[in-house]
Subunit: 337 residues, 2 copies
């Protein structure tokens, strides 16, 4: 195998077959994929499926705490998991710029295989396209995913059981991913020790669901951050959301960087953080689970659903005032995921 991707790797001919056999099959090793059928044939008992898709265009491809491959697997797994689904199958579509080093691609693929295996999810079908130099930025990845949803978790994706009194939890500090990616950009003279929180959350989420916690809604806090998710939940509803600034977990290093750059951590993307809305009767039970899980130990209860502020999200600030929390109107950080 040559050490760079050339146009022939995306041609449908021999070079592409070689790439598939030598690289993708090597790491994405399962029967459904290796049958080389145009569609992966999945045997699933009759039940509700979750099906999701995401393209990843993060810049740079490698950042402290992860790379685009980890992001592509965990992002899609998390999308399935927050819908109350058990993630099962993933598809992968690569768009690769001519000239991209194969060793780097292999590193990405390897990471994807590792994360998928750790998560117990199979990458069952894929596609590779190569474009001329300058027509794409190194590597873009699309992953689509299928998961199975139990009957009792069907309501979670829609959030239609959210009601005043429900409590809001996040499983850890906000903004780590966005700041790790930003500081990894070569054109920015910033160096910190911030690592991306990029990780697959479904084991944590399944522990919570399996414990019988009454989860009303979940959403991973990616592009747009916590503020966007909260705004989406409250918008147009007959309830409001009240959160407390003092309870929102943000690392000191992230806070400092936000001050320098003029960012609001509530808008920053995370890739291993989830907002969980639970019935108030489960306050103690969910805290115990979060506390005992490596992905939840920095959890905080950040606020609640309320009869006040209908359709709005209000934050009680540390200095005693209140402010409205809104999703961003424009662009904050492009190519963060």
């Amino acid at each position: 195998m040559d050490d760079r991707i050339i146009l022939g790797h995306g041609s449908g001919g021999k070079l592409m077959h070689q790439l598939i056999t030598d690289l993708f099959f090597k790491y994405f090793n399962n029967e459904a994929l290796k049958k080389s059928t145009d569609s992966a044939i999945l045997e699933i008992p009759g039940m509700h499926l979750a099906f999701t898709t995401d393209s990843y265009i993060v810049d740079p491809l490698f950042f402290p705490g992860g790379n685009i491959g980890k992001l592509a697997i965990c992002g899609t797994i998390n999308d399935l998991a927050v819908s109350g689904a058990h993630p099962q199958f993933i598809s992968v579509g690569f768009i690769i710029e001519e000239g991209y080093p194969l060793t780097k691609l292999e590193e990405i693929v390897q990471t994807m295989a590792f994360e998928a295996k750790k998560a117990g999810v199979q990458i069952v079908t894929g596609d590779t396209k190569v474009v001329n130099k300058g027509k794409a930025d190194k590597v873009f990845i699309n992953t689509s995913g299928i998961g199975i949803i139990k009957d009792e978790h069907k309501h979670i994706a829609t959030g239609n059981k959210i009601a005043p009194g429900d409590l809001l939890f996040v499983n850890g500090t906000l903004g780590d991913h966005a700041m790790a990616v930003l500081t990894a950009r070569e054109d920015l003279p910033l160096r910190t020790d911030i690592q991306s929180d990029c990780t697959c959350l479904h084991h944590l989420i399944e522990n919570i669901l399996d414990a019988g916690i009454h989860v009303k809604f979940m959403r991973d806090l990616t592009r747009g951050g916590l503020a966007t998710v909260l705004d989406e939940i409250a918008s147009g509803k007959n309830f409001g959301i009240e959160i407390n600034e003092k309870d929102i977990p943000i690392k000191e290093s992230v806070k400092a960087l936000c001050e320098v750059l003029g960012f609001d951590a509530l808008h920053l993307a995370n890739e291993g953080k989830v907002l969980i809305v639970v019935d108030k009767t489960d306050e103690t039970a969910i805290q115990e689970i979060l506390h005992n899980d490596v992905l939840g130990k920095s959890y905080r209860m950040i606020g609640k659903i309320t009869d006040n502020y209908k359709g709005e999200v209000v934050m009680n600030s540390i200095i005693g005032g209140k402010r409205l929390v809104k999703m961003l109107a424009g662009e904050q950080l492009p190519r963060i995921c």
Copy 2:
């Protein structure tokens, strides 16, 4: 809505929400999508599923006979259909270059909605990313698809029932898509009336399956063309393939262009052509169906599976000789789909 895509359209904030509501919801109009859940929730009875993915990077985006949107829907539907599946659900992931005109994007989206509706397939989940100008070439689209496979069609995707004596059919002329795209490229001083054959084939395929034809294998003849598919079928097998050059349908205009450019039509991509391998007892029955279908009326029986030439594909040429047919070693036409 402004008339150009800006970075904010991919930010996860308000502009993206607007784009989703004003454009995608407008055309991709179904309940599962409009619930805006991270994963589409699909209710499917327990059976075998087909799940496929493809990214589309065709250049130019608009060509005689279609555009990238039509390609993205039909390509994924065809991948499901040739697996013996009934296509049901599609996901769409856009990667869009900053500055791309919204009206053009709308045209693409509209085409996708039209083709999906005509095909009876729902676009149930999606994703939009925007990259800086110069970091992608206008628009890339990923579609993933899910289909349901009946028990009696489970073998079709693998082709493990192919046996000597089986007959090979194609549903029409080869090379039209590749030549239509090529001649649409502005930097080539070629003008012809060749139209892409881009179309969704599953109604034709379902007619064949529903008629009880013993289909051993099908494959749509995309990147790499007929030669690649035949080579894949025969490679490493205990049978060979014999085809007859005189029976391979190629338009005179495509033939002429191939001669000028030095291409072999057997390697050219099609987007509405399928190779169908059937039991010889069905020779008359399948010809009747193809003959009566608008997508099959230029069909030809091109050859057969044979005990000779084990592992090889041999073509009886018009001038009386024989030649081996192989998949391409390198690159022929980049960005054809």
